[in-house]
Structures are given as C-alpha cells and as structure tokens.
C-alpha cells in the first residue's frame, strides 16, 4: 500500500551513545569506528522537552544541532501574515537543525516538539572539527541534505500544479509509510492543523477534504488518528514524490 519511492534506503547507524531504548542513530554516522563513536559521544549533551515546547526559534543564533533520541518534533517556517508551514517532521535517530551548521549560524526555521522529546545536542564548532577529521560523515551528511533539497524541489513543483486533494492524499500515504499502520490506523497523532500546515493548505480545507475522503471510503477518522481504508484509492489521487528522502518526512 505504501508509496515505494518514499522507502528509506539507508538503515540507521547502530546506537552510539548507549541511551536506553535507542533503536539506532542517524544514518550519517554509519561506518564510524568505536574510537570515533566515543569521540562523537563526548561532544553530546542531553536535553529534554515536554510536548508542544519550543526547541529553537527562526532568526535566533544556531549554536549546534540535535539528534532526536525519542519523541517527535516539527520544523516550521513562518510565512506572511503569521501563517505557518511545517517543513518536516523528525523522529528518533534523526537530525534537527543540521542545515544551519554551514550557513552563518542562524536558524532559518523554528522547531517545536509534537510530543515529549529527548535529544542529544552537539555544538557547531565541535561538530565541524569532527567533520574535517571524518570526511565520510561529511559526505553522508551532504547526501542527506542533497536528498532533502531534491524533496523540497519536488514539493515546490507539486505545490504549484497539484490540487489540495492530491497533496493531502500524498501526505497521508507518506505518514503511513513513515510511522506504520495497525489495522490501517497511522501510528502518529498529528493534529488537523499540523496536517494542513504540512500539506500547505488551510485547516478548513484540510478538515473538509478529510471529510470528503471519509465519505468516499478512502479513510476513517478516529479523533486525532486517521486510518487508511483504501490506499489504492488514495494513490490514484496522488503519485508519490519522485525522490527518495533519507530519514525526514517532508
């Protein structure tokens, strides 16, 4: 049922810092030897946030980046008139704020938790030094950012030419692919407002379109959870984005 092109092509790296319950760290750290893993570990600082808490704000100095250990967070860009667009959602073993390591050190978007989140923070200067000594990690990070870039290109093209219905259908399929389903129910609690802000449509349109999908028997709505009843029907409304992203759900 899932859109094939969104399958994650790179397995996570084995756990690095030994945090309890860790299912693996970001793919960019794959291939590091034990000594380098320890070196990386020594740079990390633990941080914890409650649900719906700010991690960083757009326009503020970026002192480093985060590796999410548990929970989920969203990266938000503010548009004109205070409107918000969710650029991506990150979960365990994924990076947050890494793109600002290289561009002058200011956050170009805001990050907020969706649920209680534990993370490791690494300072910018420490990590840039580490990258200079580990070109393979630098290349893997570049590949991750490059694929994200291609994902945003595809979203931009889609946004200009595709209907709200197609965008929402694709987002539901991508969420199912990313977080899995049990009896069709997507295993993530995403509010209607967050769905709208990810698809780039108004909350009213998202609610109306979800209602339409339910009437057509494509999905069923259960409070904050959504179950996909007819994945083929949703796929007919929207083909997957022609890009294979690593880690993040765009």
């Amino acid at each position: 049922m899932a859109p094939k092109r969104l399958e994650i092509g790179h397995p996570k790296s084995p756990p690095i810092c030994g945090v309890a319950g860790c299912q693996g760290c970001s793919w960019i750290f794959s291939g590091l030897d034990e000594k380098s893993q320890h070196e990386l570990c020594r740079m990390m600082r633990s941080v914890e946030y409650g649900a719906d808490e700010a991690i960083f704000h757009e326009g503020t100095p970026a002192f480093g980046f985060f590796i999410i250990c548990s929970g989920k967070a969203k990266l938000i860009k503010h548009g004109p008139g205070g409107k918000r667009h969710i650029l991506k959602i990150v979960g365990p073993g994924e990076l947050l704020g890494e793109e600002n390591l290289f561009d002058g050190g200011t956050h170009t978007a805001s990050a907020r938790t969706i649920e209680p989140t534990r993370a490791r923070f690494i300072k910018r200067e420490d990590f840039l030094d580490f990258l200079k000594r580990h070109p393979m990690v630098a290349l893997q990070l570049a590949e991750k950012v490059a694929r994200e870039l291609q994902g945003f290109q595809a979203k931009l093209i889609e946004t200009a030419y595709e209907s709200c219905r197609a965008r929402l259908a694709r987002l539901l399929l991508a969420l199912a692919e990313k977080y899995g389903t049990v009896n069709g129910e997507i295993q993530a609690r995403i509010s209607r407002m967050d769905l709208a802000e990810m698809a780039g449509i108004s909350t009213e349109t998202a609610i109306r379109t979800l209602g339409e999908f339910e009437e057509k028997g494509l999905i069923s709505l259960r409070r904050r959870k959504i179950a996909i009843i007819d994945p083929k029907g949703l796929e007919e409304l929207a083909t997957p984005l022609p890009v294979e992203t690593i880690e993040n759900l765009l």
Binding site: K132, Q153, A154, I157, G200
Partner: protein, 221 residues
C-alpha cells in the same frame, strides 16, 4: 581573466590546497545559447560551476514545466545529484552563451576524500539552496500570484539585470510562459500583471525585454 583566477574567485573560502586540486581537474567549456547541459533523468557525471552567462534549471511534471532557478557566475549546477547519486532531478540549459567549468564525478569524489574542506564548502552551497527552496515553497503556498511575480522580477533584476540610465534591463529572452513557469503561476496572470505594472509606470515592456523603472523590491516589501 584566466580560468584559474576566475575559479579561485568563485572557490573563495576553500583552503588553497583544495582550490588547487579542483583547478587541476576542472575543464572549461563554452556553450552557445539554448544548449541543453543535461536533462531530467540523465545519469550524473559531474558538476558545473558557472563562470559567465546564465543557466536555467527546470523540471516537468505531467506536461507542466516549472523553472526552479536561474544560475549565474559562481553558482554550482548538479550539486544535489552528485551527493545523492540519483539521476538528474532537473534539466539545465543555457540562456545566453555561457562559460562553465566542469568537474567529473570521480575527480570530485577523490578531491572530497582528500580535502574534507570541499564537502563542507559544498554543504554551505547546499544549505543556501535548501533555504531558497523552503522560502519559495512558503511563498508559493501563502503569497498571491501577482506579488510573487513582482518579487521574482525584482530578484532577477538585481542578479541578472543591466543597470542603464532609464532603469534596470532584464534581457533574458524569457517568454510569458517561461516567466509563468519560473513563478509557478498561469501565463495569463503573467501577462495581466505585467500590463498592470506597465500602466502604473513601474515597468516598460519591449518584446521579451523587461525594463524595471522603479525599485520593485521596495514597493512590495
């Protein structure tokens, strides 16, 4: 200016050894106007650095054309694909006669492994491109068509316009359909907005040439 001197100018920020390594491996090529450099779906064979001229990058989706970017001196083409090792996600063709430097993929990879400052320098370019795309995405979603066209005219004028006594000349020979593809709006909207801007005295139209007669960026700030 020699190829070396020009490249060094665009490779600013790289350590001198890494710059020299790129210079040794890079080939310079001149392409006439409207030459296709690569097409969407092509296998990636290397990266280009624009030294002179303008290159348009575009994609088509189910028959619709979208121009993603106009690149000029100092810009890199194909950097996303060289790292992701996916086929080209965009097509690229020259607008005017353009001079580019080409670096083959194998040489690029060797240089990256030997000089870690190169992938870090490229990451700056990737991050900047990512930022541009995110801005464009938010603008496409939330900003109305006319304002987006005015923003794009102002940005293109600032980057590629020629300063003349009567104003800034944009002479990229882009049709109304191409401007529409660049902004992500209908060609009819481009024509309507351009004529409206002309009536206000903000622009003057001369075939495919567009004169910016005032500071458009300030008008829509």
């Amino acid at each position: 200016m020699t190829k070396g001197a020009e490249l060094v100018q665009w490779l600013g920020g790289l350590d001198p050894e890494a710059s020299k390594a790129i210079l040794r491996k890079a080939h310079q090529k001149v392409f006439p106007a409207e030459t296709l450099l690569y097409a969407q779906g092509d296998r990636v064979s290397g990266i280009y650095i624009v030294l002179e001229g303008i290159v348009k990058e575009f994609a088509s989706l189910e028959g619709c054309l979208r121009y993603l970017r106009l690149s000029g001196p100092g810009d890199l083409l194909g950097i996303g694909e060289i790292f992701s090792q996916e086929p080209q996600t965009l097509s690229a063709s020259t607008v005017h006669q353009s001079r580019l430097v080409y670096l083959e993929q194998a040489a690029f990879q060797q240089i990256c492994m030997k000089h870690p400052s190169v992938p870090l320098w490229m990451m700056r370019q990737l991050s900047a491109r990512l930022w541009e795309l995110r801005m464009a995405l938010v603008e496409t979603v939330y900003v109305e068509s006319a304002t987006r066209l005015v923003h794009r005219l102002a940005a293109v004028g600032e980057r590629f316009g020629e300063q003349r006594s009567q104003g800034t000349l944009i002479d990229l020979k882009l049709s109304r359909e191409e401007w529409a593809a660049l902004v992500g709006i209908a060609p009819e909207t481009v024509s309507r907005v351009l004529h409206d801007l002309e009536r206000r005295g903000w622009v003057a139209l001369e075939g495919r040439k567009i004169w910016l007669l005032i500071d458009l960026a300030q008008k829509v700030a």
